[in-house]
Subunit: 176 residues, 3 copies
Amino acid sequence: MSGLARIAVLTVSDRAARGEYPDRGGPAAEEWLRAVIASPAEYRREIVADGADSVAAALRTLADDWGADFIAVTGGTGPAPRDRTPEGVSAVADFDLPGFGEAMRGASLAEVPTAILSRQGAAVRGRTLIVTLPGKPAAIATCLGAVFAAVPYCLDLIGAAHIETDPGRCRAFRPG
Amino acid sequence: MSGLARIAVLTVSDRAARGEYPDRGGPAAEEWLRAVIASPAEYRREIVADGADSVAAALRTLADDWGADFIAVTGGTGPAPRDRTPEGVSAVADFDLPGFGEAMRGASLAEVPTAILSRQGAAVRGRTLIVTLPGKPAAIATCLGAVFAAVPYCLDLIGAAHIETDPGRCRAFRPG
Amino acid sequence: MSGLARIAVLTVSDRAARGEYPDRGGPAAEEWLRAVIASPAEYRREIVADGADSVAAALRTLADDWGADFIAVTGGTGPAPRDRTPEGVSAVADFDLPGFGEAMRGASLAEVPTAILSRQGAAVRGRTLIVTLPGKPAAIATCLGAVFAAVPYCLDLIGAAHIETDPGRCRAFRPG
């Protein structure tokens, strides 16, 4: 509820966590969010290895200890054996918001048929909205672009920080 | 299986249940259903406070005791802390029908980007079909309009009452 | 991972299992798959009665004992009392891929409004991808056509056999 929103970006990637690979998804998500969110916000980025436990632990820390209003998680939402991000989110979620996954897959499907393989979604934990995104920068922009107009009102509803967007980039909608 | 279908509308709202606020969603849903359902039907409306337990108890009474064929639930499907209608439906459901939520969010999304925040859906309990709707009258019409053509055949399949619709308002479809 | 993919088609139908009714869905699914899959593959068809237990047992045999890479299940995904195929899949699934159900319902909805009654979906068990389909041949083609471009890459990701498709019938997509 403070004036300064707390926005976290969590990269989930074994190789990025070990430093074998530069994290491209996390910086791309942060850049997108910094460009679109026009109200005062503090940003934080973390990287964890793949796995339900690592994701769940990082989300608890970001949501409960740091007080994140919005967490964008990038990576680990596919069907490969190490892709366990959805299970990590489920472990800490109060409930899911299925419309986010539907909208993100719908938008991605216009670009690649393999969008249907994504297990992306969104969930609420207390006063924190968590959205899972692909790992590729171009796909991150597509997915955030498909849902972010509804994010400010969602944050209002769950008692998180009030945020404003740059209407030239994303027109936030709040029902009258 | 009788000739008289039993159609219930359940409003979920703390303020309406306390009488602080006129229930607009329930009457709007009933009016829509009365206009569209062309075969004999008995209608019943109830109002309960928000919460999974209150919703689940009301659904059990309407489905099991009154013998409702179709229950439209309005309100409580968003992400706010008091919005627990989906949890109440889940507590009494035999199974979900995910296509209803997808179709209702898809139709609402053409009107407002915040449609993705809705946790609306449908579920079957015994011989009763339960569909959750928004609270606002205009959105109720959008959502019922997006799914109702499939409702008569669904009632046939679950062994509920046979209903007919006014084809000028909603053309019920039954596969040949 | 061998050169020969193992493709199973499981028909779920009380009447077909008792021999009272010729199975049309299974042959239609197999014919579609044989026409579209251009790389070497072995095909197997089974028929079981409706029910979560019968479906789960057949899927375990096909996935674990026979080593199926892809299982198409036809029938039992609706809301009727004997339609318990989704429960059988859930019992053996490591996780669901919700985008398959969304895409199949979306494609079917362009043909019939009752598409929203379908509980079709997809799930992964170990190195096996399981997709549930309607029982009617025309609807099977619609649904496989809506998702199959993503199937070869999905099989790659889960460590199943590499398959190629006939691009004139279905253009498989593998991100670069």
